[in-house]
């Protein structure tokens, strides 16, 4: 069972010049079961990216530990794939080369790799773009490539930091459906950070609303909308009464937090 467990996770940034400390995260505890889809929401600067980077292994927590399955997380690994806000594609290579990057690093056989790449390009809807240089793709297409590049490696956990932040509303909606589809089909554990409350509600089977200073989990929700999104059109869900109710509740919550920060400053 590849569950993800975080125990008493804390992160303090220290400015080497001034010695000033920022408590980005403090005592985060949660367990994510295999196949759960977690959305993380919170005002800017509450430590969402920090949390994700620690799970990915890019940052070492100042206290606490993270366990994936039976192994302590210590540094980046192939079992945790990451999708960045701006794609972070290798612009000097074609779509195909980007997608099979992980396979090449593992020295997978070329034929095998080609099949896998074909399959994933199909799934993310980029069939026929294999030879296109990535810098010629639109933002939405670039995110699909990033997604395919991550998935082709077959990670246990997929980490996404505002993957749809830079996309227009329509592309965004398509990508949201795509993420739900992928989640259903692959049964992977997914953590997705977003700024959009709607997106969090639509995608998150579980939802953390985080609060800043120090960064902590303020409230946790278990939501039905992601399951429904697999069969119903997303637009219909958005109009749902329950949906709007939770949305307003969370918006007020975040709004209050922001007010509090402003007041404190």
């Amino acid at each position: 069972m590849a569950d993800l467990t975080c125990k008493d996770l804390s992160m303090t940034y220290r400015n080497p010049q001034t010695g000033a400390e920022v408590h980005a995260l403090k005592d985060i505890n949660f367990t994510l079961k295999k196949g759960e889809l977690l959305a993380v929401l919170g005002p800017s600067g509450c430590g969402k990216t920090t949390l994700l980077n620690m799970v990915a292994g890019f940052l070492k927590p100042t206290a606490g530990e993270m366990i994936l399955g039976d192994r302590l997380i210590n540094g980046p690994g192939v079992e945790r794939g990451m999708v960045f806000q701006q794609g972070a594609l290798f612009e000097w290579q074609s779509v195909k080369k980007n997608v099979d990057f992980g396979l090449r690093m593992k020295k997978t056989k070329a034929v095998e790799a080609a099949d896998l790449v074909e399959k994933w390009l199909d799934i993310v809807g980029l069939q026929g773009f294999g030879e296109t240089p990535t810098y010629q793709l639109s933002g939405g297409m670039q995110q699909r490539v990033a997604l395919a590049r991550c998935l082709v490696n077959d990670p246990d956990v997929i980490l996404m930091d505002e993957p749809l932040g830079a996309l227009d509303a329509l592309t965004r909606e398509k990508m949201q459906s795509l993420i739900l589809e992928l989640w259903k089909e692959t049964g992977k554990t997914i953590i997705i950070i977003t700024h959009s409350v709607e997106e969090a509600l639509l995608l998150g089977e579980r939802l953390f609303v985080m609060a800043p200073r120090p960064g902590r989990i303020h409230k946790e929700y278990h939501l039905p909308f992601a399951e429904r999104g697999l069969s119903e059109p997303l637009r219909a869900i958005r109009q749902d009464k329950d949906f709007t109710k939770v949305r307003e509740e969370i918006l007020t919550m975040i709004w209050n937090m922001e007010e509090e920060i402003m007041g404190r400053v």
Binding site: N53, A56, G57, F58, G75, P76, G77, V78, R80, G81, M82, F84, Q86, A88, L89, F90, E91, W92, Q93, F101, G102, R104, M105, K106, P133, T134, Y135, R149, C150, N153, P155
Partner: protein, 642 residues
Amino acid sequence: MFEFIADQRAAIAAVFILTLLLAFGVSIYIGRKEYRKNGQDQVFGDPERTKGGWYWSLCGVSALLLIWFYFSWGVARAYFPNAANELCQIAKLDEALSPIRAVLPIGSRSYQSTQLVARNGAQIEALRDSMPKQAFSRDEQQVLELVIDDVQSLLGLSSDPDQQSPEVAAQIELLSQELRAIAIALDAGPSAVEPSAEALAQPKWGATYTEIPLLPVTARGILFDQLSQDAALLSDRFVTLKNIPPAYATRIPLITQKIEALSAATKAQQFSDADVEARKDYIKSLDRIFNRLDDGSIFPAGSFAPLMKVFQELARAQAHAKGSLKVIDALFVPGAGVVKSRTQCSEQGSGRWLPKPMDVVVTFAELADPDVEDGGGFKGTPLLWWKWLPIADVVAFVIPDALADLWAGEYARHGVDGKVQENTKDRLLALAQGDIDLGSVPALDGHLWDSLFRVLVAMGLGILCGVPVGIYMGVSQFIKGVLDPVVELYRPVPPLAWAPLILTIFGIQDDGKIFLLFMVAFAIMVISARTGAAGTQLSKIRASHSLGASNRQILLYVILPNALPEILTGVRIAIGVCWGTLVAAEMLAGTTGIGFIENVARTVSDYELIWVTILIMGILGLAFDLIMRWVIQKTIPWRGKG
């Protein structure tokens, strides 16, 4: 070939000029039309505006070539082939008259005599003020004052018209009349004298490296030439003319006597060493001024008035005799005209240092001619050709002798039979020293290839060593810390400042130059690779870690390609700097290379060759840059789009 060009100069020039004028006009026409078509919908400052526009390049180039042609006197030589010869004859007359002109206020502000009086007067005053009183007794001081007064009075005597001997005045009058005869002859114009066979046999203007034919070939030229011979005789007589006033005869022995008495006193009496020194110096400077005044080169201000008048007439007559040549001179001979020196006439100003385009082409053709035996190439080496390169030489270069020494066993000794039986070790040594014939391969050869070879090898080594070092410096604190001071300390030193040292250590042949250029290329490649590597986006590195890449793989597949734009820019800059450094290094030392050619050309003032080398360097530099631009466009179209 040369003769043909010389003969057909006018026709060739016509084609040349018309083509250029046409290109100039057409390019402006196209340019304006394009501008009208595209001009309106663009905003000022939009970088897109600078794209394309070959016609403006054509416009610039043709204008440049036309200016070159004009200022190199190309028009004059093509259409007025005898103009330079005639100007040369006029220059001869000017040269012949120059000794007389020198004493008159022509081309200077005052008479030479006025200048002499002013200068000597000032020096006498200075002498009076600087008398070392402690070294002379009171009596002697009075004597000295008197001597100085006497010397000063000489200035007055020679400036006084009444003191001038009537003979001198008569001589000046006579000279003036004879000079006037020259002016009259000029006014009369040329007579129908045929040029000598020798003159006609001279090579044409610019057809040899002696620029302008010296002997007159036209009637006008003959006139000036003959008159210049007359004028030379007059000048010879003029320079013997001295103004020695009769009063000098009594005055000078007196002064001499007093000065000698003072000198004698220095020897006879006991003075301290310092005083002896001071006395000697002072008497010596007094004596020097005195001697200068008794040579009769100062004349009363009015005595040259007749000469002045005649020279004005001469100037007018010369201008008159020049006739149509005046127009040609003014319009088509920009620069300082033709000057006659002792043995030859030469073009001055732009006509001298700016060779005619056709001469440059011919010089290039001679230089490019691979037939070294037949005078082609330069100093026994062609410009760019091929030769059979013995493979043994290459092998010897690659295998160090020490390898043979390290080989197992001993070198053979001579046996009891008095013979040496070679063993493997001996044969290996022979190979390492290039003594075994391995046949030959065709290889490039020549000055240009030597230069290119040095740059390319140095660039290759520089890239091979510099890029990895730079990349590691971009990612490793240790390597950056260790190598940064080394690179940053030697890099700011101008490469040529290293040259004396490097050339001493590695020799002035290829090794030294290649090492010098390697240093240049290495530093630039290190810095650019390092900047490129350090500029890799963190998210890309993180992504590749998550995708399972090892550190080595990240270096190779992420950081290196990310640094590629910077690296290629570095290569582009390094090639330019290397090329510049190489040429300078070749000028410093060595026996081959394009810089060597220019250096030799410089020492013999061969302006055609200098320009040919400059043009070759410019064109090659441009070619390097174009190639690099093309490579950059082809290899990194994604540059800046990540």
